[in-house]
């Protein structure tokens, strides 16, 4: 394993040190592992907090800022944060209007955030949890812990963040977050496995000509293995898999995220986006907004995920609202 780190034990602390140095607009509490906006908000607002394992950057730390998250809690690499961290984040950023916790649906994340929510509630803070579970690769929900949370996290964080910034009340922010999640579906394909610093070798072995279809963002193996194919064929399968589960019909509009898993060049992501657009156009679905790039990564994994969020005027308006974070920035 070759990585630009000092040691697997210190990677998170060292990265937070760099993050703090690079972004004076963020307050980075390194010992407690909480990233929040520098300076307090001028007026009370609903606080939006998310977190999860590290190794998915820019998620979540680089989505802290005006119009998006109030705080993020990064866990160890591919490991959910602990309740203390989440509680510290709540204490730091809540301003009396309540807190929305955005939690990706993994057993560890769910339980750790739940414990934190209980502790925060004991302290009198009103908490709502929005669970993100958009990954259609997880098929049979009676046999599983339910769908994983992946790319839709970006949409949920952006849109709830925009709404909270406008002063919307707690329940509306949480309900809208749930609505975004319900309108979103994702699917990922890996060309290589990620190598975590602690393990030092790829999470799974993938022959030179095979790919993992329906892979998770923690190097969890996917639905099945297949031979690698040209981008157009691969994208067609991914789009069709999502549409099979999504109540999208001709004339609908979507927000589309073509997301690099970390090791895939942007050049290839644009190839993928072109194919996604073409395939959706065949089905009469129009992409109203898009993001192409590395947003929810899995360390050095090569591959991509596609997320489609059914759009409506309200969601588009919130999507377009100004945002100022290290990784998403527009006005």
């Amino acid at each position: 394993m070759k990585k630009l780190i000092n040691s697997p034990e210190t990677v998170l602390t060292d990265a937070l040190t760099g993050l703090a140095a690079a972004h004076p607009e963020l307050a980075v509490d390194i010992p407690n592992r909480v990233i929040s906006r520098a300076g307090r908000p001028g007026r009370p607002k609903v606080a939006v907090i998310s977190g999860g394992g590290s190794g998915h950057e820019p998620l979540h730390s680089c989505f802290v800022g005006r119009g998006m998250l109030d705080a993020a809690c990064p866990g160890e690499v591919f490991t959910s944060p602990v309740p203390d961290q989440v509680l510290t984040a709540v204490q730091r950023v809540h301003s009396g209007s309540g807190v929305v916790l955005i939690v990706k649906n993994y057993t560890g994340d769910v339980m750790n955030f739940q414990l934190a929510a209980e502790l925060a509630a004991e302290e009198g803070v009103e908490i709502r949890t929005v669970l993100v579970d958009d990954d259609v690769a997880v098929e049979d929900s009676t046999w599983t812990a339910g769908r994983r949370g992946t790319g839709a996290t970006v949409m949920v964080e952006k849109i709830t963040g925009a709404l909270a910034e406008r002063g919307a009340p707690l329940d509306q922010v949480a309900e809208t977050g749930r609505r975004v999640n319900a309108a979103s579906r994702s699917f990922a394909v890996a060309l290589t496995a990620a190598t975590t610093p602690a393990v030092g070798k790829p999470g799974f072995d993938l022959p030179e000509d095979e790919i993992e279809i329906g892979v998770g963002i923690h190097g969890e193996p996917g639905r099945r293995r297949e031979r690698h194919r040209p981008a157009a064929e691969l994208v067609a399968e991914v789009v069709d898999t999502i549409l099979a589960d999504h109540e999208l019909t001709a004339g609908d509009e979507v927000i589309a995220l073509v997301n690099g898993l970390g090791g895939t060049p942007l050049l290839e992501l644009y190839v993928v986006y072109g194919e996604v657009r073409a395939r959706l156009a065949e089905r009469g679905v129009r992409i109203a907004r898009n993001l192409v790039g590395n947003y929810v990564t899995s360390l050095d994994m090569a591959g991509f995920s596609l997320t489609l969020t059914k759009a409506d005027p309200e969601l588009l308006e919130l999507w377009d609202a100004p945002v100022a974070t290290p990784a998403l920035n527009w006005s």
Binding site: P8, G53, G75, E76, V77, F78, T79, S80, P81, V82, P83, D84, Y106, T107, G108, M111, N112, Q114, L115, A137, V138, E139, D140, W143, T144, A145, R148, T196, A198, V199, G203, F204, G216, H218, G219, E220, P221, R223, R224
Partner: protein
């Protein structure tokens, strides 16, 4: 069991986790995300540090400190589960010494905490598959004394862990694999077996 034995159990467990880290991680790489070993090592290293400055006057103090530290330091699925289990056991054993029957009841409280938090049933290919049979075996043998009960629990937990191999996971990260989760031993059940093995070890050494 007394406070000293509880301390010895946790210390021995920490040492065993350290030795078995890469094995646990390997199991978790096959059907999870490859961090179970480092998660538990990080947690138990912190537990040892926390216990070093604690002067516990009860079994409960040891186990509760273990539980809260695991919750604060592990993260992932195993942190809250093991953490809650140890906290529940600690709550059940506020005394400085406990009979085998009291320990059996505490183990059952631990199991309850795991199931309440995680919602897993036996056969779901989780920690429960080792903890549940171990608790039952311990209870059944409690009348024969601590060493015998611990041996019975050790054997049952090991068997329970091995029995997870053919199962298809229904909880946790492994469940995402669907049928591909079969044929592998569950990491969490394996670390539970390790816990019961160290319990038997320290019981005999005492």
């Amino acid at each position: 069991m007394d406070t000293e034995l509880a301390l010895a159990w946790i210390r021995e467990t920490a040492a065993a986790v350290e030795r078995q880290e890469s094995y646990l991680t390997e199991l978790d790489s096959a059907i999870g995300d490859g961090d179970h070993g480092s998660n538990l090592r990080r947690g138990f290293t912190a537990v040892i540090t926390a216990l070093d400055t604690l002067e516990p006057d009860s079994i409960g103090a040891v186990l509760a400190k273990t539980g809260t530290t695991l919750i604060s330091k592990v993260g992932g699925a195993s942190g809250p589960l093991y953490g809650s289990a140890f906290r529940a056991m600690g709550k059940a054993l506020p005394q400085a010494t406990a009979t085998p029957a009291e320990l059996a009841a505490a183990l059952a409280e631990g199991l309850l905490a795991i199931q309440q938090l995680g919602g897993a049933a036996p056969g779901d290919k989780t920690i429960v598959d080792a903890w549940a049979p171990a608790t039952a075996a311990f209870e059944a043998a409690a009348a024969d004394g601590l060493p015998s009960a611990a041996d019975a629990a050790d054997a049952a937990a090991a068997q329970g862990a091995r029995d997870t191999v053919p199962l298809q996971a229904r909880k946790g990260r492994a469940s995402y694999l669907g049928p591909r989760s079969t044929g592998h031993q569950d990491p969490g059940a394996t670390s539970t077996a390790l816990l019961f093995h160290t319990l038997a070890q320290v019981t005999h050494a005492a």
